[in-house]
């Protein structure tokens, strides 16, 4: 479903992504792990063109993301993204956050968009908060709203960038539960995470990034139990010492 070839990105003169190849099959969940600054977020943001790469190619369903055939918003409809800091619009109610894109981009009627939004919220047990403002919600609740917002255009691919990293530990579970339910519904997901337990549990495949390269990719059991690359081993050992594995 997603094919990435030789993806390369410089910020100024520093090489942030170095000839990355990655394939993600339909319904597959791929986790990206790696040290801070290894280029995980950049890779994710290239997929939906929040960042334009310098070299290489990204295809979704065989069509490059820069193809004008996508139309102005076709790509954004197929690919949703959720950020670490939720980035909900603080001046809009939950329901308006979610229905903004369906109404303004897909030109749905308000009634239709709201009905769908409520369904998505109900999926995460959040329908009670439709009329609330983001600041009235806990971090975990805000992140579930952000998930609902990303799902409003009914994308087939969901990109998640450390969606639990800003949450208090006791709130992480509810967001993970929401993501798990999305996997069950067959969404294709690329997930950047520091929660190794989550990656082990949910991923079909884990990719370890180091210095802008994918140095190792394998099934989670394989990668966590018997890492082959020395850099992967070093990274996992350091996590183990920090008690985060």
């Amino acid at each position: 479903m997603i094919e990435i070839r030789a993806l390369t990105k410089y910020f100024g003169s520093s090489l942030v992504l170095d000839r990355v190849d990655l394939d993600v099959a339909r319904h597959e969940v791929v986790c990206l792990i790696g040290a801070s600054g290894s280029g995980k977020s950049t890779l994710l943001r290239c997929i939906n063109r929040l960042i334009e790469p310098d070299w290489g190619e990204i295809r979704i369903d065989g069509r490059t993301v820069t193809d004008p055939g996508w139309g102005r918003t076709g790509l954004q409809q197929r690919v949703g993204i959720v950020f670490q800091s939720y980035n909900l619009f603080p001046h809009m109610r939950v329901i308006d956050n979610i229905t903004l894109a369906p109404r303004k981009v897909l030109r749905q009627s308000r009634a239709q968009a709201e009905e769908q939004a409520l369904e998505t919220l109900a999926l995460f047990g959040m329908e009670r908060f439709a009329r609330a403002y983001p600041e009235q919600l806990s971090g975990g609740q805000q992140q579930r709203v952000a998930l609902a917002r990303a799902l409003a255009g009914q994308p087939e691919v969901l990109l998640l960038d450390e969606v639990t990293a800003a949450l208090d530990p006791e709130l992480v579970g509810e967001v993970m539960e929401a993501i798990r339910s999305l996997k069950a519904r067959g969404l294709t997901m690329v997930i950047v995470t520091h929660e190794m337990g989550f990656a082990r549990d949910l991923a079909d495949r884990v990719c370890f990034l180091d210095g802008g390269r994918i140095v190792e990719e394998a099934a989670p059991a394989q990668l966590f139990n018997a890492p082959e690359h020395p850099r992967t081993r070093q990274f996992l050992e350091r996590l183990l010492e920090g008690g985060r594995l």
Binding site: N87, F89, H91, A101, V105, E135, R149
Partner: protein, 286 residues
Amino acid sequence: MIPDQPTTPPPPPRRRGFDWRRAFLPGLISAASILAVFGTLTWLITQNENWPRIQRQFFSVDHMLAALPRVAQGFLTNLQVWLIAMACIALWALVLAVVRSLRGPWFAPFRLMVMLYVDIFRGLPALLLVILFGFGIPALRIAGLPSSGLFWGGVAMVLSYSAYVCEIYRSGIDAVHEGQRSAARALGLNEGQVMLYAILPQALRNAVPSLMNIVVALQKDVALLSVIGVRDAVREAQIYTASTFNYSSLVVAALLFLLATIPMARLADWITHRDRKRRLQMAEET
């Protein structure tokens, strides 16, 4: 010596009855000292041998009452110009700020134009612009252009103030977190929709405290139009002074200005204060 741990919690402290001294003494002291200081000042001023003359020149009740109707009439002009100018400035500056914030190389000439505009109009005294436009343009006698000094003076005010307000809007736009733009773009909104639905509402909210101060300043600066002959409150007061050699009419105008600006300034302070509290709260949460 550390006392033993009591077996039961100690009783609550005994409530004292209403303490008159605590409740009223500080207030009494403030009132008394204010009275003493201001009383002394008043006494010193009124004992001055020049006081009767000062009083006649500036605070003559008869002259004040006589001047009030015209000065008040002029002040209505101030308020009208102020309201219209405010609306024009708010809109025009918004256009400038949005153009200034457009990204992409194609917009470079427009961004440059706004930059020049802001530099020029912020760098020039509003008074100079008022005279230049208010006298200069009607003197051209170009057919089809309005010839009223009031109109062109107002235009000068709008041009000058828009430069400031454009910068206020722009810092409001810049203060919106970059993540908001990413989120909006990722939802498929186009550049204009990102601005309209995601950025501007937050930017305007950021800008409100500074805008309130501009509103107060503008209300006073409308008086600049009096130099090109617009019969505002200051002009009317001056005319009265010219025929009577008494300055009480200007004091009337001053009182009218204060009557309008002080409540607005208080409102501005209150909004700023509320806004600061809101920000602190938000900073705590993140």
